[in-house]
């Protein structure tokens, strides 16, 4: 089917504007426009640089330009082509009467809010607004567009509710806030379209759940509302299509799909290092000069790494070899905003040769003329890598260029798998979420703050949101009960109810204060507790803590917990010494140390994708595939094959061997660190029960090592220990339950749920306090609740999170089921090549498997030894 001809769709003024810029409307832009004009909702999948944003707004701009031509155009801004207006379909003069609107706000707001644009980042909303102003101004379109974010002044926000612009650019949280006011029906009554940008990234988190509920509310408020979703390539576009439209009670409903022509195939290669490839670690220090040379040979390079600490490290190291004084900058989400803006501005102005960054630069915003992307460390996922690679070279007809730098041998395998995946254009984005119950609780309260609701109606409305399409009535009622009085079996709090059912059957808030507090706590992002880092002068021979100094950024509280006064670490591109903790600020001074004590960080936030993991197992199992690998890696695998074995792709290899008076069991599931940690917790529990005396374990992305004082290999050989029993899926029953009772990760998960659902409020009116000052610890609440009401909605919400989040139980379950009957045991008398990387992690990574009490005992004993020696 050929796309509709431009003249039918695109008003002359647009055609001329495109032509004036030397552009031609792209096929996908016109296709989307055609569908939107038929009143369809559309998902557009397009690569970065494909004119995606303009495509998303084109239907709105066209409609608004026509609407304005039907009334009196009162043009704002610099209008250069004002003469052209009305040369299309000339409006009848009668229509001119309509437009004597009051002058306030430009006078064009009379039509009300037409299009709502929602982006995951407020910076993106601001950026898009700026970009959109150009065509609006150049075509002289009488369109008012405004942003609304947390930074928008209260007076302006108030005004926006009374006198909305034509186009409002905002975030999911602001949408929730707008919906939770009595003005919502008025404000959104005129809405025609919602544009959802970077939809692929929004839908993978609880923010997506919140957004889906907000959308469901909008669909209920405005029948006939349509949506445009903009997304990078995903594995299951159909799921995003469902997200964009209200789901019927039976069956499903989906938006139309428009896929832009893909750009040139990206050129992705792996750095063929001259240096010796490390066995473990994530630093890629070995390839430093090679990375520097790449930067030198290109105009602007983005150097992506996986964690904040790695950005710091790589930045430091690059400057150490930066003999040419290249402008190399640093960018990560924990840096102070002002510092980040400076880097971003320099980047846009083309002043930088390289930026070392994390995923803080993954999204959206256009960074000018990047001609190379370097990805250091594991790519983790194929889609993720493709999105990063897409940051380079925005001209579609030329290929993006990227170099992968594996930091260790396993990462070579992962990089190799990722390059193949990119060549196949294989996507591995996660599936659409099932809507979280804690987010539902927040939404229910928000709904009551907006307008009284009937349970039946709200249930139907919520079910229209794709993530909540399978929500049961029981869960919905539990959420309402939670909001009303806490959802406890013991009905103790009726008299304190936040929402109450009136005689008309409608739920409404009991006090305006409830709505006020809802507004202060809206949102689903629960940050790790962050502490500000402030630079002070070093304290010398005095216990006086120096004051003042400038803010460098923020670090996670748990990181600071590991530090002792005097420890050095790298942050904001400097080696710093920890001086003191003063309230919520970490005081640091510049250190003269050349070798900072960089503590063990969590390796990366994202686990290796299931898809890439399967590809890596495929490479391992197929010696023919090794030919493509660097010599050192091939050699490593060959020795492994000779010493032990490399199992077929679907099997799980378990090796046992003694080493230094301990006995090790190492397995290679390739399911990511989180799933491995959970497996390690559960395996050691089982081994304890079997009296096999495990001492600890350590996990990395690829493998898990457990050690103890007993010879596990011997016990297996004697038939006293069955590996299939040890790895049986039933560990996800009782063992998991027991572990969850005490798991700090589970408590962290619960805390997020408690905050999102509103059990614990992050902020009270008039005071904004961090958890440090909260008088109630969610850990204590967790303990009590778990004992007295284990099926409470928040515990269920936390469990659902644990399945995919910090504990990755779901993936572990899939793995255990996959390897059932396919465990290959190799009893050895020697550590194997494949086991070396994970064993090297001992000492770098936190060693688990010992209860906190054992640590206390150990610490206490050390003191005794000290005292006695």
């Amino acid at each position: 089917m050929s796309p509709p001809k431009p003249p039918d769709l695109l008003p002359d003024i647009f055609t001329r504007w495109f032509a004036g810029r030397g552009w031609e409307p792209r096929a996908h832009q016109l296709k989307l426009l055609a569908k939107a004009r038929q009143g369809r909702s559309v998902l557009l999948i397009a690569p970065t640089g494909g004119g995606k944003t303009l495509a998303g707004f084109l239907p709105t701009l066209v409609e608004l330009s026509e609407r304005k031509r039907d009334s009196l155009p009162r043009l704002r801004g610099r209008v250069r082509e004002g003469d052209d207006i009305g040369t299309g379909q000339i409006p009848p003069p009668a229509a001119l009467r309509a437009a004597t609107s009051p002058a306030s706000g430009g006078g064009e707001g009379k039509g009300g809010l037409h299009t709502l644009y929602i982006s995951p980042l407020k910076a993106l909303a601001v950026d898009i607004a700026r970009n959109l102003e150009t065509p609006v101004r150049e075509m002289g379109l009488p369109i008012r567009l405004e942003t609304r974010t947390g930074d928008t002044p209260a007076s302006k926000r108030m005004r926006q509710r009374r006198d909305p612009p034509d186009i409002l650019l905002t975030t999911p949280e602001q949408l929730a806030l707008l919906l939770a006011t009595a003005d919502a029906p008025f404000l959104f009554g005129t809405l025609k379209r919602v544009v959802l940008d970077e939809l692929h990234s929004l839908t993978t988190s609880k923010r997506g759940d919140l957004l889906s509920l907000g959308l469901a509310r909008l669909f209920a408020l405005v029948p006939g509302l349509t949506t445009v979703g903009l997304s990078a390539t995903v594995a299951e576009p159909h799921e995003l299509c469902r997200f964009l439209v209200p789901q019927p009670l039976d069956g499903e409903n989906a938006a139309d799909l428009v896929i832009a022509q893909a750009g040139a195939q990206p050129q992705v290669t792996m750095l063929d290092t001259e240096a010796r490839l490390p066995w473990a670690g994530h630093s890629a220090r070995h390839a430093l000069t090679e990375i520097y040379d790449l930067i030198k040979r290109h105009t602007t390079t983005l150097v992506f790494v996986n964690t904040r600490s790695q950005t710091e490290f790589m930045f430091q190291e690059l400057w150490r070899v930066n003999d040419d004084n290249l402008a190399i900058a640093l960018h990560h989400g924990s840096l102070d905003v002002a510092q980040r803006r400076k880097v971003e501005d320099a980047m846009t102005a083309g002043k930088l040769r390289a930026v070392v960054c994390t995923s803080s630069l993954d999204l959206g915003v256009d960074w000018g003329d990047v001609d190379l992307v370097i990805n250091i460390g594991a790519p983790k996922g194929s889609s993720r890598l493709m999105q990063r690679v897409g940051r380079s070279n925005h001209r579609l007809d030329e290929p993006s260029k990227a170099v992968l730098v594996p930091a260790n041998r396993f990462e070579v395998l992962e990089c190799s798998a990722a390059i193949d995946a990119v060549a196949d254009n294989a996507q591995d984005t996660p599936p659409l979420r099932t809507g979280a119950l804690d987010v539902l609780c927040q939404h229910v309260l928000g709904r009551a703050c907006g307008e009284p609701f009937l349970s039946d109606e709200l249930f139907a409305e919520v079910r229209a949101a794709a993530p909540y399409a399978t929500l049961t009535r029981a869960d919905f009622d539990a959420a309402v009960d939670f909001v009303a009085t806490g959802g406890y079996a013991l009905k103790a709090y009726e008299r304190f109810a936040k929402i109450r059912q009136g005689k008309d059957g409608k739920w409404r808030v009991t006090h305006p204060r409830v709505a006020q507090r809802y507004r202060m706590n809206v949102g689903t992002i629960v940050e790790a507790d962050m502490l500000k880092v402030r630079l002070v002068r070093s304290r010398r021979n005095t216990s006086m803590i120096p004051r003042g100094g400038r803010l460098l950024g923020q670090v996670e509280e748990y990181f600071v917990e590991m530090l002792s006064v005097g420890d050095t670490f790298v942050f904001a591109g400097e080696i710093l010494k920890y001086e003191a903790l003063v309230e919520d600020e970490v005081y640091v001074s510049r250190s003269t140390a050349t070798d900072p004590k960089v503590p063990a960080y969590e390796g990366g936030k994202f686990p290796l994708s299931t898809y890439l993991a399967a590809r890596v197992r495929g490479i391992l199992a197929d010696p023919r595939a090794w030919r493509a690998l660097p010599d050192q890696v091939r050699e490593w695998l060959e020795i492994q094959q000779w010493r032990s074995l490399l199992p077929p792709a679907g099997d799980l290899l378990v090796e046992t061997f003694p080493r230094a008076a301990k006995y090790y069991l190492v397995c290679y599931p390739f399911e990511g660190r989180l799933a491995h940690q959970t497996l390690g917790m559960l395996l050691t529990r089982r081994l304890e029960r079997l009296r096999m005396k495990p001492l600890g374990f350590v996990a990395n992305e690829y493998a898990l090592a457990v050690w103890g004082v007993g010879d596990l290999g011997l016990r297996i050989a004697r038939g006293e220990l069955s590996l299939s029993a040890l790895f049986d899926e039933d560990m996800l029953g009782d063992d998991l339950e027991e572990w969850l009772a005490e798991s700090a990760l589970m408590k962290r998960t619960f805390r997020s749920c408690a905050i999102i659902a509103g059990l614990i409020e992050r902020r009270f009116p008039g005071e904004e306090k961090s958890r440090r000052q909260l008088t109630i610890s969610t850990d204590l609440v967790y303990d009590v609740l778990r004992k007295h009401q284990p099926d409470h909605i928040l515990l269920r919400a936390a469990r659902a999170d644990a399945a995919t989040g910090l504990l990755d139980i779901k993936r572990l379950g899939e793995m255990l089921s996959r390897v059932r009957g396919r465990i290959v045991h190799k009893a050895l008398d020697h550590v194997t090549p494949l086991a070396v990387p994970v064993l090297l992690e001992i000492g770098r990574e936190t060693v688990y498997g010992e209860a906190a009490d054992a640590l206390l005992a150990e610490a206490a004993d050390e003191l005794i030894k000290e005292a006695m020696s």
């Binding site: 304190f496 027991e738 906190a852």
Partner: protein, 280 residues
């Protein structure tokens, strides 16, 4: 894993009746989970504990030359007088928060009383002293559920019960039995809520917790803070948070850092000099 061995009338050196409840300032260890089927016995596993040496002899803390037995649950027993002291129960804290719009689980009072009940069953004390802040607020006693009130009366039966007044509950309240006193002096010791620093003081109020770091992992637990002359007891209530012993309040009380934090473990106490403890 250890499980509670409920040993009625056992001698004082027997394991705490609360051992294994994982009651440690929210850093709970094992706990009997409701969903665990009874079929699998909770057999104690003979895990080689790192070290596992003598440590401080469990539970013995001397204050003003009086030997007291400190229980890992956070209670204090004085064998000579058959006296059991607990500090900062903060009963009805949940409902106090609920009244202000945060619906904490309404199970804290029941949970706290149940733990206290097991201690009482174990030590069979002649007298129980609650060291103030027994209720989270003055309205607490009136919000007490009938069931919790009954179990409280059950605990009081056959023994003396002294409510020391605290800053959260400065006034005597009706319907909760016991007698109300600002302080209780017995021999060399004075039981009171607010620390005064005087010799022989056994007090509460500060909710001491200590934090140590070992092998990159921090452990934070409630603790007894004591220097041989005076003692601050840990808070006993289910929802009671803690104040780090490195806070100024403790330095003010003990003067410098010359005191010991006896951290609550699963089945014993772990003693650390205050200097070894970390700030939060």
């Amino acid at each position: 894993m250890k499980r509670a061995v409920l040993n009625q009338g056992a001698c004082l050196s027997s394991p705490s009746p609360l051992a294994g409840e994982g009651w440690g300032g929210g850093y709970a260890a094992t706990s009997a989970h409701v969903a665990s089927p009874p079929s699998r016995p909770a057999a104690p596993v003979d895990l080689p504990r790192k070290g596992g040496g003598e440590g401080s002899k469990r539970g013995d803390i001397v204050i003003a030359a009086v030997a007291l037995s400190a229980d890992p649950s956070g209670a204090l027993y004085w064998p000579e007088h058959g006296l059991l002291a607990v500090a900062d129960l903060h009963l009805e804290k949940g409902s106090s928060y609920a009244a202000r719009g945060q619906f904490l689980p309404p199970y804290d009072t029941a949970a706290t009383l149940a733990r206290l009940g097991r201690l009482i069953a174990h030590y069979a004390p002649r007298c129980v002293v609650a060291l103030g802040d027994s209720f989270h607020d003055c309205g607490g006693p009136t919000r007490l559920s009938a069931a919790d009130r009954d179990s409280l009366h059950g605990l009081q039966r056959g023994r003396d019960w002294i409510w020391i007044t605290g800053n959260h509950d400065p006034e005597p309240a009706a319907g909760i039995g016991g007698v109300f006193q600002d302080t209780l002096t017995l021999g060399a010791l004075t039981f009171r809520h607010l620390p005064t620093g005087a010799s022989g003081d056994v007090c509460g109020h500060l909710h001491p917790v200590a934090r140590i770091s070992q092998r990159g992992r921090a452990v934070r637990r409630r603790c007894f803070a004591a220097d041989g002359t005076r003692m601050v007891m840990p808070a006993f209530g289910a929802f009671t948070g803690g104040l780090n012993v490195r806070s100024a309040a403790f330095a003010d009380l003990f003067g410098t850092l010359a005191f010991t934090a006896h951290m609550l473990g699963e089945d014993r106490l772990y003693a650390f000099h205050a200097r070894r403890c970390l700030a939060d």
